[in-house]
């Protein structure tokens, strides 16, 4: 037997011809921990899904414990000794710890279909002891803190006696103390001979915990080796190291000094804390942060979708008293949400219906609120033309039949129709191709040059550097850094987002 417990050999995966993974080679040493890092969308989750049997690789093979490994469904992966700890928890809050751990395979009394309370209690207690979690097995999960829940997930994973545990961002919901405890546990598991893959954005953690590191970028392994050879510096540059080609349009205007949006001391417990910034006319302001840093929550609060406890939002110097989407639209704020499918589009309606939705009221001035369909259609056709949406007739085509890029343009078009002076976009280029990205940037650019303030939230740092005048960095619900165009430096910005995470 080799020193490797799991090997991936030349794994490739395509989604409709578009490669998501290209020739991945990766080795997990027995009883060791492998750190897997990469930006959002680098292919980490695709890879994990292949290992976990959720999807199948198109090319290549896997070797588990010296044997060919071709899992057919997540169940087979578990049987083969591989378990996952996901970022989002999969626990049933209305059940107890022990029931959650054994929900799919309750120990029974003999052959009777009756749960053996004794067995389940002892087994659970052993598991909880082994991870040093001092909780009664019969306590309901809803009563547990997020950290404790995470540990219960680990206990659940251990209950199947796995050889390999894969952690996917296990610390996003944990406090510093809970994180420390988790790491102690992870080290203990390694001492017991369990092999692990650890996926995280928090580079310091990775560096502290793992034995080997693999860096993924655009579906390819760009760097790998023993931990000792890595520094944060090297990790970051392997992750983001790509030359800025002609991917971003030239900025044609300069921001003015006039403030269009001012947020002061905005707080909502549990999401954002004491957020203050100013957005100027004609400015493109970037907000960089990792998932869960509070960047989306901040935008939702500003737009009036979520409430806030304290602080102030002012548009054009006027304080907003009652914050709601309707009011925001009246104040000419636009908000392109990060999730097109769920919050952006009426998938089965027509493009026309989608684009007119925000500004319907403006095209219906009569008492009966009859929409001037001729006028609205004309305006929509102008918008569609300006945004270069490639589609069939707008009256007949549904967004569901469009590509991701064109779908995103429809969402943007909806807001363009409302002629916003504040344009907030959350992950505007997620899941769209390079060409469409360029066009999206051009549109935002154009808005800025016409005097609107643009706020881009993104987890792709190059994108922000490519298009922004200024970048704010968020972490743990707070603004932890601000960089003006002259100070733009990928590694410094990313570092500030990452390192802040470790400190608190």
């Amino acid at each position: 037997m080799s020193e490797y417990i799991l090997q991936l050999k030349n794994i490739s995966k395509y989604f409709f011809g578009v490669p998501a993974l290209k020739n991945i080679n990766l080795e997990l040493r027995k009883g060791k921990m492998l750190g897997l890092i990469g930006e959002n969308g680098a292919g980490k989750s695709t890879m994990m899904n292949i290992i976990g049997g959720v999807i199948k690789a198109d090319e290549g093979s896997m070797v588990l414990k010296g044997e060919e490994y071709q899992p057919d469904g997540p169940g087979e992966a578990t049987d083969a000794g591989i378990t996952f700890i996901h970022q989002e928890l999969n626990l049933f809050t209305n059940l107890s710890i022990e029931e959650n751990i054994y929900i799919s395979s309750f120990p029974t009394i003999g052959r009777l279909p009756v749960i053996s309370k004794g067995a389940i209690r002892t087994k659970t207690r052993e598991l909880l002891d082994s991870i040093d979690l001092k909780l009664s097995p019969d306590i309901l999960v809803e009563k547990l803190s997020p950290g404790e829940r995470q540990l219960v997930e680990i206990a659940k994973a251990l209950s199947s006696k796995p050889d390999i545990i894969i952690f996917d961002e296990p610390t996003t919901s944990l406090t510093a103390r809970e994180t420390k405890k988790l790491f102690e546990l992870i080290n203990k598991l390694r001492d017991q001979g369990i092999s692990m893959i650890y996926i995280s954005h928090i580079l310091d953690d990775v560096l502290n915990l793992v034995d080997d590191i693999v860096v993924l970028k655009d579906g390819e392994v760009t760097d790998k080796g023993a931990k000792q050879d890595f520094s944060i510096q090297r990790m970051v540059s392997s992750m983001v190291g790509r030359d800025l080609e002609q991917m971003y349009p030239e900025r044609t205007s300069k921001p003015s000094n006039e403030v269009v949006l001012e947020v002061s001391n905005l707080s909502q417990s549990g999401t954002i804390h004491d957020v203050s910034f100013k957005l100027h006319k004609g400015e493109i302001l970037g907000v960089f942060g990792l998932m869960g840093s509070g960047r989306t929550e901040m935008a939702r609060i500003i737009f009036g979708l979520d409430p806030y406890e304290s602080g102030e939002i002012a548009v054009d110097g006027k304080k907003i008293t009652k914050s709601s989407p309707q009011n925001s639209i009246r104040n000419r704020i636009a908000f392109v949400t990060e999730n097109r499918r769920e919050e952006g589009l009426l998938m089965h309606s027509t493009i026309l219906d989608n684009i007119q939705l925000v500004s319907l009221r403006e095209y219906a001035k009569t008492i009966l609120k009859i929409v001037d369909s001729k006028k609205v259609t004309e305006s929509i056709k102008d918008v569609v033309k300006m945004l270069k949406v490639k589609s069939g007739p707008v009256e007949k085509t549904a967004p569901k039949s469009l590509s991701g890029g064109n779908q995103q343009k429809v969402v943007i078009g909806k807001w363009v129709m409302a002629k916003p002076k504040i344009f907030m976009v959350d992950e505007p280029t997620r899941g769209i191709d390079v060409g469409a990205k360029y066009e999206v940037y051009t549109i935002l650019n154009q808005f800025a040059s016409e005097g609107s303030g643009v706020l881009i939230i993104s987890s792709e740092i190059e994108e922000l550097i490519g298009v922004c005048d200024r970048i704010l960095v968020m972490s743990k619900g707070e603004i932890v850094g601000e960089f003006s165009a002259s100070e733009f430096d990928k590694e410094r910005i990313v570092g500030s987002a990452f390192r802040q995470n470790v400190r608190c």
Partner: protein, 376 residues
Amino acid sequence: MSARKNPMDTKLQENPEKRMFRIPDLRQGIKRIMVSEYFVLYLSILWFIVMLPVIPNIASSRNLNNIFDFIWPLLAVCVGQTLVLLIAGIDLSQISVIGMTSVIGALFMSNRIDPNVLSDSPLWGTVISENGGIMANSMWAVPVGILMMLLVGSLIGLINGYFIAKLKMPPFMVTLVTQLFVYNLAIFLTKSNNIIGIPKAFTEIGKGKIGFIPVAMIITIVLCVLSQLLLSKTVLGKWIYAVGSNVKASVVSGVPRDGVIMFVYAFSGFCAAFASVIYSGRLEMGRPTLGQTLLMDIVGATIIGGTSMFGGKGKVLWTFFGVLFFVLLTNVLNLFNLDTFTINIVKGLIILLAALFDVIRTKIQANDTKVEKAGA
């Protein structure tokens, strides 16, 4: 897997569609017909033609009149239900609204009330007496009576809407409770008796004709046309479709979700009261139990018409076809002299079939998008 796709992907995504059209087999044809707007109309015509040799009576002028007499009031209720289904809700209280408003109308309009029948009513002596209702013998009795019926109907609907929108209670449960409550309230007010003595001007709405066109037909068609205009031409109508297609996206786009929901349920109550005007006029009385047997007909006809239970898809015209089909179907069962029980069994099954059909249609359409979904 998401972030980076190359510009090729627009082209690549066309592939599956092309593949779909390459197989011009029977299944595609059936699919095409099933998702067609006029499918239910074809079905109704087919049913009529097939039944013609079996029961020639079906085409007699008396029977045809009969069929249309059934269609108009049912269509009016179903228009309201259509709007509710459009926002992915359901209104089970319509049937009780019909009975309640029937009583309300009579309480205002009746010209003479038999003390032997209604002196037990809690309203006796205050609202009603031997001399009739509140506005007995007034020239304004009929317009005010109708207005009050429509008002009460809308109000009951508005209450439904309030609890569904503001308190986020499940629609079927809220409307089920109002159904119970309103029905029992109508029974209580009348001690389960009918109120007669309705002025002729009112009964003419249900039974009268202008030339050879029934008044009921005219007003119902006006209601339908106005409703369809509301849906397709006004801001509100577009909001209704938007809320039904994707609530979250609608709220982000500034659609006043709560207001839309409350309007729709109020409108549903309005339509039920509207139908009650026709039904009560025909009966020449206010009857608290009026409409109680109609639930299956309302839900069934609307769903058969093709309005989806999952929201965002439906038209008044479709509902007209659905009502036509449903009435034709029950008419034939009646002509076969089947008893009401059997007819009820058939109706129950028809609704299940219609619901199944809705699920299948939704699936066919979802399949068209599946390809792209997997990619994103």
